[in-house]
Symmetry: C2
Subunit: 419 residues, 2 copies
């Protein structure tokens, strides 16, 4: 049987934009893995009439309602009262929950007495499954009424995540039949609309697995999702689709179920015992920053030089003054000398360089915004690539840094250089 | 007249939990400043029937509907078609929008032809106000029908923010009576809960201006918002509140209506004709990256060294080997030698350094995650500060980079060093 869930987040702070509804994202991910469909998220304020109306709408279009927020001790916290009312349940005092609340409060604030309003959190719908909260005070709960399963979780993201993972998920898993498995192919070097044009008919015709594209600043993802009685069967459904996509798209696919291009470049270098360094002009430290986002980066990255002036290119990286004078900083010659210089100065096996015009204005030699050279130097070679990255300073910088990392990936996997 | 808005985000990726609905947060903040109430957010997938149903519900409970997402070139992008249908509008081809889309595509991808599906984005509801998109391809639009104002914005957060700020807000401002003026004080070095504890009663008592706190990774903002018949009168309401806050909070306020700490540090150095350089260990290029996010950074920044290994600290920055051996890389002595070394090697007036343990694990001398030293060196001084930045690699790195920039700000404005 196929379930449809709807998430209702309760909290005026969401409607004022003080926080984003990250609870909904986290829960949606979990439900998607269980194969439970989610058709709507609703956010409503701390207002019983509007919450009631949102619940009345949701119960007509879903058979699982999951609320987040509004379980706390203040007078704004009305979720339990409202849901109990809509589904005709009484709230009853639960002594074990009250005990937990008292002892949680005692641990957190040994120096002051608990105010009585905290015990309001121990009022729970009669006959519900209680989700004990080991990460905060308000217990969650679940009950079934009139064909709808209602699950209530606390709102603070840390508590909500723990309560969903350790309390609601096991409860929901018992409802799901079959398993959902996803595999995500990461793509760099081909735009969303091109991929889409290539795959549109194929995607529309697919039902199991499904194929969905997502654009992510400068990159994109294709997610293949299959549903089957077992995980192995789901994977068997995914494999031929992945193979077909790899045939079709070729080496713009840089990985499957990996986080980022830097993670792939890092793993390749680490596996081959190589060290890495950077010489950055237009990206201004972004390539090094991406590499050092990875825990354990020091196993590969020796360091980098941000050479934002000709002086630093010459003095620190040893780029010959004659090259700078003759060709200018934004040139293939200087890109090569920077990469080779970084290798030497930093003492690493591979070094990348970036030099270009990030904008907003053309440089003083009239090079246009978006013209960037990236280079990769090894012991016995240096490859320079010319790029035209459009406009928009942040986008030029981000894409240039990805191209630099992609040089490493292509070199170490024996792929041809991109055109 | 008081308006009620409802936000409808369209995108299956939201229901699958691939991304959080940050557009709703951003727009809600803006609406709240205009005094436009928001009672519900809805998220719905790329499904015309369900979107239609969400719109039917929303139009009964709000007089302003703002949709985000579903304006792109792919077959999933159905927002315009669906909204036009619900409100009985034809879609018509807009040639100026088509021109913009062609030229945007051309700038971004000079080397490949635009696929035809991109022009679908130039189909717009007849008689609408077109919101030209200078940050992407899909134009937004607004129209009024049957007492409801409908506004459609693209979904990608960067585009959505720009389109809301520069296109939708001016349109909405015309609906509000009177003028709303905001002033944002930026704070670094005092946590949200401390600021809140200090200001809570004051904030709750205020109605015009209002005062709202926002936490932003490692920093916070206090936004003062006043409503008055004219802008000058609104500013007159804001001034005494700002003065009071400055008295209360002191020099943790690093600017008003400025974007970032790097912008403030940059402006101070530029005004005094100073040049700048970085020597980064644990922040791995993040300080240089932040500086080079600013257009025209080269007026101040000469360059930086990412010294991720002792070898690079010694060979490139000239940190004495004896210091590294005796105190280890994470020490005030090495932080100082790095900053002084960067000044010398890069030939700049001021240099900052960072060295610390970003995690996830303590370093091999047993220094805990979150221990960071930042230093600022000038011609005749070097100030080193010891920091304990908690856990979480990204947070430690981000906060360390902000502390380094804050050293520059404090030095050049004659403020005392932070404790």
């Amino acid at each position: 049987m196929s379930h449809i869930a709807e998430l209702i987040a309760v909290g005026t702070e969401l409607l004022l934009g003080n926080i984003a509804n990250t609870d909904a994202q986290m829960i949606s991910q979990g439900l998607s893995e269980l194969g439970i469909h989610v058709y709507y998220h609703t956010v409503v304020g701390d207002n019983p009439a509007r919450l009631r109306s949102a619940v009345e709408i949701a119960r007509r279009r879903a058979d699982i309602l999951i609320t987040t927020g509004g379980l706390g001790p203040t007078c704004d916290d009305l979720t339990k009262q409202t849901l109990a009312q809509v589904f005709g349940r009484e709230l009853v005092f639960d002594e074990p929950s009250a005990q937990r609340i008292r002892s949680y409060f005692q641990r957190l604030h040994p120096d002051r007495p608990m105010t009585e309003n905290n015990l309001q959190q121990a009022m729970l719908p009669e006959g519900c499954t209680i989700f004990a909260n080991d990460w905060g005070t308000a217990p969650g709960c679940a009950f079934e009424a009139e064909g709808v399963r209602v699950i209530m979780l606390p709102g603070p993201p840390r508590e909500c995540r723990a309560m969903f993972t350790h309390r609601a998920l096991p409860y929901l898993r018992a409802l799901a039949d079959g398993t959902i498995v996803s595999r995500t192919l990461k793509i760099f070097g081909m735009g969303e609309s091109s991929v889409e044009a290539l795959l549109r008919e194929r995607m529309n015709a697919m039902t199991n697995p499904t194929l969905a594209p997502y654009a992510k600043e400068g990159e994109m993802e294709l997610r293949i999702t299959a549903k089957a009685p077992t995980e192995a069967e789901a994977r068997d459904l995914i494999a031929p689709v992945e193979e077909e996509l790899r045939d079709l798209l070729g080496d713009v696919i840089y990985g499957a179920d990996v986080k980022s291009l830097e993670e792939v470049a890092f793993a390749l270098m680490e596996a081959q015992g190589l060290t890495f360094g950077t010489a950055e002009s237009c990206t201004g430290g972004l390539v090094a920053k991406r590499m050092t986002d990875l825990p354990g980066a020091s196993a590969v990255l020796k360091g980098g030089v941000v050479s934002y002036t000709d002086e630093v290119k010459h003095n620190v990286l040893g780029v010959p003054q004659a090259l700078l004078d003759q060709y200018g900083a934004v040139s293939p010659q200087v890109a090569e000398a920077m990469a080779r210089g970084a290798r030497r100065v930093l003492g690493c096996s591979l070094a990348v360089s970036t030099t270009g015009v990030a904008g907003p204005d053309p440089d003083d030699r009239g090079n246009p915004v978006g013209l960037v050279y990236v280079a990769l130097a090894g012991a016995e070679f240096c490859h320079v690539q010319e790029l035209h990255l459009g406009r928009g300073r942040a986008m030029v910088r981000s894409r240039a840094s990805l191209h630099a990392l992609d040089l490493v990936r292509r070199y170490l996997t024996g792929r041809p250089w991109a055109e």
